[in-house]
């Protein structure tokens, strides 16, 4: 590789930086959706690079469901403090108080209230006109159809049949007053790229991406970690005893809410081991995400409702 060419990781990096600067330059009140996972970690690093030596010129916002792993909350607060980022945490308090839970309301409804609903409320509340998200096209087939700059109507909805053509690297950032933009700077990154980049940049990630022994419940073939919220509030601790649990060495490939995030059996405890695991796996990254499995178009449906 000669000195005037960029490796593919550096090309992806340059593209993502370009996208984030475009957002900062063209929107009045942008925000970065920060979900604490590995993609968010990479996205934050790219934002640091885009505006260095300045600070990241927009806040990070975590839309919390209350069902995240304790390690995620701990990591989030420490990480944001360390990098001197402004963090906003928003929750759908009304539905959390009502005890909204996937086992009670169904996965789709629960997501709709605690994630999509909370996100849309938060965007409205703060008047954000652009929200940068870490979704990647490789993750899921409807996301493969996404634009980098994805227009949303006043209800935050995606209209997949009516997308603006996106040409070269010229992004149409124009919106009407009641509309907003979702922006995906990691569109062209794959799970492999993310890990490769985390390794080469030594980016901190939530420790539960690495393998350790955990107690899990096997639900529909998915290894759900045992925790007070695994089965919902109306079930008492004793109910867990009736469910078969087992101890297994495992890690998380993708992080979500505890009741809906499966672990995968794995012994990977270093970046290299994770990378080599990702390279040889025969399962997709979101195989253990219950929210994607309710139907062949579940993600598309959620996106149409305003999910990112």
């Amino acid at each position: 590789m000669n000195s005037l060419s960029l490796s593919y990781l550096r090309q992806l990096e340059a593209e993502s930086i370009d996208i984030m600067r475009e957002v900062a330059a063209e929107f009045k009140n942008p925000v970065m959706l920060y979900s604490v996972g590995k993609d968010s970690s990479v996205m934050v690093r790219l934002a640091q690079k885009a505006f260095y030596p300045g600070r990241i010129p927009f806040p990070l916002m975590h839309v919390d469901t209350g069902y995240k792993f304790p390690e995620m909350y701990e990591f989030r607060d420490e990480f944001c403090k360390k990098i001197d980022a402004t963090l906003i945490v928003e929750r759908n308090e009304e539905w959390i108080a009502r005890g909204c839970h996937p086992l009670k309301m169904g996965v789709d409804k629960c997501c709709s209230y605690l994630k999509t609903g909370a996100l849309l409320d938060a965007l409205r509340k703060h008047g954000f006109d652009a929200a940068i998200g870490g979704a990647r096209r490789e993750e899921e087939k409807s996301r493969a159809k996404e634009r980098v700059f994805s227009l949303r109507d006043s209800f935050g909805q995606w209209d997949p049949k009516n997308q603006r053509p996106e040409l070269w690297d010229i992004y149409n950032t124009r919106i009407n007053e009641d509309e907003s933009m979702r922006v995906f700077p990691l569109s062209n990154w794959t799970e492999k790229d993310i890990w490769q980049y985390i390794k080469s940049e030594n980016i901190p990630v939530v420790p539960i991406y690495f393998a350790q022994e955990r107690e899990v419940i096997v639900r529909n073939g998915i290894l759900i970690p045992v925790s007070s919220c695994s089965t919902g509030q109306e079930y008492t601790q004793t109910d867990i005893v009736h469910v078969k649990t087992k101890k297994i060495i495992c890690r998380f490939r993708s992080l979500g809410c505890i009741p809906c995030t499966g672990a995968i059996a794995s012994k990977a405890i270093t970046f290299d081991e994770i990378i080599s695991e990702v390279r040889t796996t025969t399962k997709s990254e979101r195989e253990n995400r219950v929210i994607d499995l309710t139907s062949d178009s579940s993600m598309e449906q959620k996106k149409k409702e305003g999910y990112f």
């Binding site: 490796s7 475009e22 030596p53 980049y197």
Partner: protein, 636 residues
């Protein structure tokens, strides 16, 4: 090779319906182990639900419910895979519904295009259209995969026929690197594994071709262009300009100029999060600091002092119309070009290109998927290079200010403004098949517009046609002297002089006369492109030949002047005694004696030299040029 060091290749795939594109992509993903079990299970479920016997690989690509419902691909989709050597991004561009819009969108970022052709059907119109769009977008590499070879007994003859037909067609296009590969996507022949069924094929597999393609040479690393994207002012003592180097390279201490202010300064540092750089190049995203405090903001461009882009507020461009509502003249848009947004309106439609025949035709409007050339007027100048020279600064989008929709993709043409590049030779009269179809058209690095700006007048070709002795040279010489003395840049091409040098190998047969005029026309074009008023005096007896020359220039830039004088009067004048020689048989094929002269049907000007004096004729031409704003009124 460590994964992070791999190179990146973006390619677009396209083909007609049922050419097997989805199968081919499915095959590439499968062979590179990029299809996951759970994704496969999901499409297996869907296939079963639809009552299909076999798993439909296309469902992997059809990400939208509506696409799976209707069994068609509606929108561009992106797929990713990697091999030991390279990471690939596939842009899958549907071939049938709204093919132009999707194809242009999909191909806009591609380094390479893969066109599928069904071996059973051979080269279809659709395959030609795809080639045309690839040529239009200047994608440097094309791979034609001739698919379904298994259904044609892996016949070499079938393959050769496609190769021959497509090669023939592609010579009319501006594509310089074409590879043909016989494949069977279904059986896997020559996709990732070399086929044993086609020992006659000496090339390598599709995947191998994609892996070895050298794309780093396709970048423009000469012309440094840095559109300022965002100004960073984290503290009082730091002011940096963030942006992407879209072409060229730059180092600290190099002298630069900021546009549009024209202020000159030099690069102080090239900053990145990972440290300062001693050299930066396209497509890196960096932060530049400058040695002087000059006013620079988003939308400005930093370039080298000795390598400037064009700075214009009216330009010509090829646009692809992508909106459901048709475009009309004088419609107003927002043009987004690099990081600059300006108001733009369409002044005129020069022509529309029929994508099937490549013919140019006049048009009043553009509807969805139409492609053609327009003149645009901008509210403020932009800094650009012709698309051919520099993709990054030669392209733009048009946005409807009311709906905010992206309505067109545009590629700025250079000042030379020729369509020959994509209009096939045989559709124009009198053009010879190029014997060097692979020579690359290079644009003049100083464009016509820039030259005209400096000289203060337009370039134009004045073509004097008429019988020998009609007065062509006399009038032209007088006119040239007047213009020259008033400071105009002029050039004179005289038939006799040309025949003594450039065309001394030619006689007076029809074929030789044709070639004589072709050379004269091309020479005139060279002078024209350099900003001259070019006066050409040629008998040029044949309409066809004159029309050939006319077609070399934009409308209005070629002025045909018929110097009309009856043959008897010319014979009487006979300034060089040529008529006498011709009549005595010493010059065979002399125009007016034993070779015809075809008078122009609709010349811009006709000068009757039997009735008018030389001075009067010169006045008439000057009047004409004044009216057309080619020249200014002489100062008294």
């Amino acid at each position: 090779m460590p994964t992070g060091e791999k190179s990146l290749l973006r390619f677009v795939t396209t083909g007609s319906v049922d050419d097997g594109k989805s199968t081919l992509i499915g095959r590439l993903l499968y062979e590179t182990k990029s299809i996951f079990e759970d994704q496969y299970t999901a499409i297996e479920k869907t296939s079963k639900k639809k009552g299909l016997k076999e798993v439909e690989l296309a469902y992997l690509l059809d990400g939208l419910a509506a696409e799976r419902e209707q069994g068609i691909t509606i929108d561009v989709a992106y797929r990713y895979f990697e091999t030991e050597k390279r990471k690939f991004i596939i842009t899958d561009s549907p071939g049938h519904v709204q093919y132009t819009k999707n194809m242009v969108t999909g191909a806009s970022k591609a380094d390479c295009a893969v066109i599928l052709i069904d071996a059973r059907n051979g080269v279809l119109t659709q395959s030609k259209r795809h080639g045309f769009l690839i040529s239009l977008l200047q994608i440097p590499h094309l791979i034609v995969a001739v698919n379904k070879m298994d259904l044609m007994d892996y016949s070499q003859e079938v393959f050769s026929r496609v190769v021959e037909e497509y090669t023939d067609y592609s010579q009319k296009l501006d594509i310089h690197d074409i590879v043909f590969i016989p494949v069977s996507a279904l059986k896997g022949d020559n996709v990732a594994v070399k086929s044993k069924k086609m020992p006659w094929y000496e090339g390598t597999t599709l995947l191998h071709n994609l892996e070895k393609l050298n794309v780093s040479a396709d970048r423009n690393l000469v012309d440094f262009r840095f559109p300022v994207q965002y100004v960073l002012r984290p503290s009082a003592d730091f002011r940096g300009f963030a942006g992407k180097i879209v072409s060229g390279t730059i180092s600290p201490s190099e002298e630069v100029v900021a546009l549009p202010s024209g202020k000159i300064t030099s690069i102080k540092t090239i900053n990145t999060y990972d440290g300062e750089l001693t050299e930066a190049f396209a497509p890196q995203s960096v932060v530049l600091t400058l040695n002087d405090e000059i006013d620079v903001s988003r939308g400005d461009m930093i370039v080298r002092k000795k390598n400037l882009p064009l700075i214009e507020s009216s330009l010509e461009a090829i646009i692809c119309w992508m909106n459901d509502e048709p475009m009309t003249i004088n419609s107003s848009f927002i043009m987004k070009h690099t990081t600059r947004s300006v108001r733009a309106s369409v002044k005129s439609i020069v022509y529309k290109i029929d994508v099937n025949t490549l013919h140019r035709q006049p048009a009043e409007t553009f509807s969805l998927n139409d492609i053609g050339r327009v003149e645009l007027k901008l509210a403020a100048p932009i800094f650009f290079d012709p698309y051919k020279i520099n993709h990054a600064t030669g392209r733009f989008i048009l946005i409807d200010p009311l709906t905010n929709k992206t309505v067109a993709a545009g590629m700025i043409r250079d000042a030379s403004r020729h369509v020959e590049d994509y209009v096939p030779a045989e559709t124009k009269e009198g053009v010879k098949q190029k014997k060097s179809p692979h020579t690359v058209w290079r644009d003049y690095h100083i464009g016509l517009a820039e030259r005209e700006k400096q000289s203060g007048h337009k370039a134009v070709v004045l073509w004097f046609t008429g019988l020998s002795g009609s007065g062509k040279s006399t009038i032209a010489m007088k006119l040239e002297r007047q213009l020259f003395e008033r400071g105009y840049k002029t050039a004179m091409l005289d038939g006799d002089i040309i025949r003594h040098g450039l065309c001394s190998d030619l006689a007076f047969s029809t074929a030789d006369r044709k070639e004589n005029i072709r050379r004269a026309g091309e020479t005139a074009r060279l002078f024209f492109e350099h900003g001259n008023i070019v006066l050409c005096t040629f008998i040029s007896p044949f309409k066809e030949d004159r029309n050939f020359v006319r077609n070399l220039f934009d409308t209005g830039r070629f002025v045909e002047i018929y110097v009309d004088c009856p043959i008897d009067e010319c014979q009487k004048r006979d300034p060089n005694g040529l008529y006498k020689k011709a009549r005595s048989g010493q010059i065979p094929g002399f125009t007016g004696i034993d070779s015809p002269y075809e008078a122009p049907g609709k010349p811009e000007l006709t000068l009757d030299t039997q009735k008018c004096s030389v001075d009067k004729c010169v006045d008439v031409i000057e009047e004409f040029l004044l009216k057309r704003k080619m020249i200014a009124k002489p100062k008294k």
